[in-house]
């Protein structure tokens, strides 16, 4: 297992390098000259060619592409993503706290999503075809069909405005988490519990379940075996859900004025703040790679057949 972890981590290195190159190329393909963006942000009244050239020199944009890429990558490795073109602040100072805020929201949501999905999935599988299973699936279908901003507005109106139980926005105390986490949980758990359910159902028909019963094992023990095998599929999905939520909290963050990555990235994109956008894309891509590796490692720990596959 130790060897597997090392090999899996080594495999992530070229992937991370490719991501950094791709991010850099994509941003450089933008038709907008960064020097012009900086000058506009500084409120320079007339932008002359001479001025642009001087700014390019200051930003190091006159150097060849590969040199710029290498400099940028080496800086990134030290968590130095440059300065924002708009505010002049260091990108890390801008993105760091926002990333932590979004990460907090994401992790709390992920725990809630996993708990709800596993619970509902197991319950529905054990009751497959009965009233409980059918009603949970119908309700989940309706809830996931409602767009999250609609659901958010509805819940804010009821819990915060009418009942005055929860804050409408901000990130003040644990109570601020309840509504955003609830909305993210509903939109993801409503989909993921189906994976747990169908995976449980397909495992229930396996021979090892029959032999377990024929050996006189209690249902409790057999259910644990089924769960152990069913969760392998679910774990990959859960681990990949974390970076997906990280990158898609934009809507929820905007509704609840959550000071996170979502709101920051929208602002950066609208004002063409290239260093911030670059850092944002890079951080999300890296978290995808990291969580993918974690999911592979958990799966290998649970499924011995996978360990020799790498």
């Amino acid at each position: 297992m130790g060897m597997y972890i090392i090999r899996r981590m080594l495999l992530a290195v070229p992937l991370l390098w490719a991501i950094s190159l791709l991010t850099f190329i994509l941003i450089n393909l933008s038709p907008m000259d960064p020097a012009v963006v900086v000058l506009q942000a500084q409120g320079v009244p007339s932008i002359t060619d001479e001025l642009i050239e001087r700014t390019q020199q200051q930003l190091g944009l006159d150097q060849p592409f590969l040199v710029r890429y290498l400099n940028w990558m080496l800086d990134c490795l030290q968590l130095d993503f440059g300065n924002s073109y708009i505010t002049g602040q260091s990108v890390w100072a801008l993105i760091g706290p926002a990333f932590l805020n979004t990460l907090r929201l994401t992790l709390v949501s992920a725990v809630s999503i996993i708990a709800v999905s596993v619970l509902l999935g197991v319950l529905c599988a054990l009751q497959a075809g009965r009233v409980l299973d059918k009603s949970v699936r119908t309700l989940a279908f309706i809830l996931t069909a409602i767009p999250s901003y609609g659901l958010a507005a509805l819940l804010v109106w009821y819990f915060s405005v009418r009942l005055d139980l929860l804050p409408t926005s901000g990130m003040d105390s644990y109570r601020s988490y309840i509504l955003p986490v609830l909305i993210i949980t509903i939109s993801y758990a409503g989909l993921y519990f189906r994976n747990v359910r169908s995976s449980m159902l397909s495992n229930m028909n396996k021979d090892y379940v029959l032999y377990g019963r024929a050996s006189g094992l209690p249902e409790r023990v057999i259910t644990m075996h089924i769960l152990r095998n069913s969760l392998q599929v679910a774990i990959s999905i859960f681990c990949m859900a974390i970076p997906i939520i990280l990158g898609s909290t934009v809507v929820v963050e905007n509704v609840f004025a959550w000071p996170g990555l979502g709101s920051l990235s929208i602002r950066a994109i609208l004002s063409r703040d290239f260093p911030v956008i670059q850092a944002y894309v890079l951080i999300l891509a890296v978290s995808f790679v990291i969580f993918n590796a974690i999911s592979d490692m958990i799966n290998a720990a649970m499924n011995p057949k996978l360990r020799n596959g790498l």
């Binding site: 396996k206 021979d207 090892y208 029959l210 032999y211 377990g212 019963r213 024929a214 050996s215 006189g216 094992l217 209690p218 023990v221 075996h225 152990r228 095998n229 392998q232 649970m302 499924n303 011995p304 057949k305």
Partner: protein, 270 residues
């Protein structure tokens, strides 16, 4: 004395709305081996699983199954569970899929024996080691820590037999235990079954479509077709003087195959 009596067993599939097993009755005497032979889909496995009450809920069964004087239909789930494994044992067709693929073999063995005997780990391991040696499995402690995919079908089949040796059931149901194995493993496993019968003196229901295997081990044979018993009798009598056309076909198919194989071998040698 009859250890098991199956009377007017009917099994109905409520999904497709058709009967699968139609009015089957048979009994099994203490120490006797009964073979149930028939083609795929004739209802052999479903019949045997109904004895252990292990069919899915979509299969409804009626009729009585009397084991040691007790009608199994009157037992609660809990009472039935205690009899499974300990009093009515089962050997599966495919050893490769019979164990949880994400746990080592020892897990199933320890859970099962812990459940029935309440032994601690070292006692279980000690008893399993003896049983595994007796079915010609070397290095039991190493095998206990192996995953199912790391072992061969024949080894897993013998591990199931070893577990049965420790559990000492009154009846053992073997559901086509040699079908998924190659010729050499088949012979080894059959030899273990014959030894197991002698060691435990238990009654046995042996499901198979391999008439050659059945002839070595069974005292009585039931021939099933389309959910019905079409012929029954003592093994030798059935082999020498089959009454039904279908049984004759089964036998001649078997001998034709044998002859064909022998001719091929002779030609190859010649």
């Amino acid at each position: 004395m009859n250890i098991l009596e199956v009377n007017h067993l009917n099994i109905h599939d409520i999904h497709i709305g058709e009967p699968i097993v139609k009015d089957i009755s048979f009994d099994l005497q203490q120490g006797q081996c009964l073979a149930i032979v028939g083609e795929s889909g004739s209802g052999k496995s479903v019949t045997c699983r109904s004895i252990m009450k292990l069919n899915p809920s979509s299969l409804q069964q009626s009729g009585s199954i009397v084991f040691q004087g007790i009608d199994l239909n009157t037992l609660t789930d809990q009472q039935m569970r205690k009899r499974r494994g300990k009093q009515i044992g089962m050997i599966m067709q495919n050893g490769m899929s019979a164990f949880d693929p994400s746990c080592v073999i020892g897990t199933h063995l320890r859970e099962t024996l812990g459940q029935h005997y309440g032994w601690n780990r070292s006692k279980i391991d000690e008893r399993m080691h003896i049983a595994m040696h007796s079915v010609m499995l070397n290095h039991p402690d190493r095998l206990m820590n192996r995953y199912p995919h790391e072992l061969s079908g024949g080894m897993l089949q013998r591990i199931m037999i070893a577990l049965t040796l420790v559990l000492e059931p009154d009846i053992l149901i073997a559901d086509e235990p040699t079908t998924a194995l190659d010729m050499l493993s088949q012979q080894e496993v059959m030899a273990q079954f014959i030894r197991l019968r002698h060691t435990l003196g238990c009654s046995m229901i042996f499901i198979s479509h391999d008439l050659g295997a059945v002839r070595h081990i069974a005292d009585h044979i039931l021939i099933m077709k389309d959910g019905k018993v079409i012929e029954r009798g003592e093994t030798e009598q059935l082999f020498t003087a089959p009454r039904q056309e279908y049984t004759r076909d089964l036998l001649s198919a078997r001998f034709a195959l044998d002859n064909h194989f022998r001719q091929l071998m002779e030609r190859k040698e010649g």
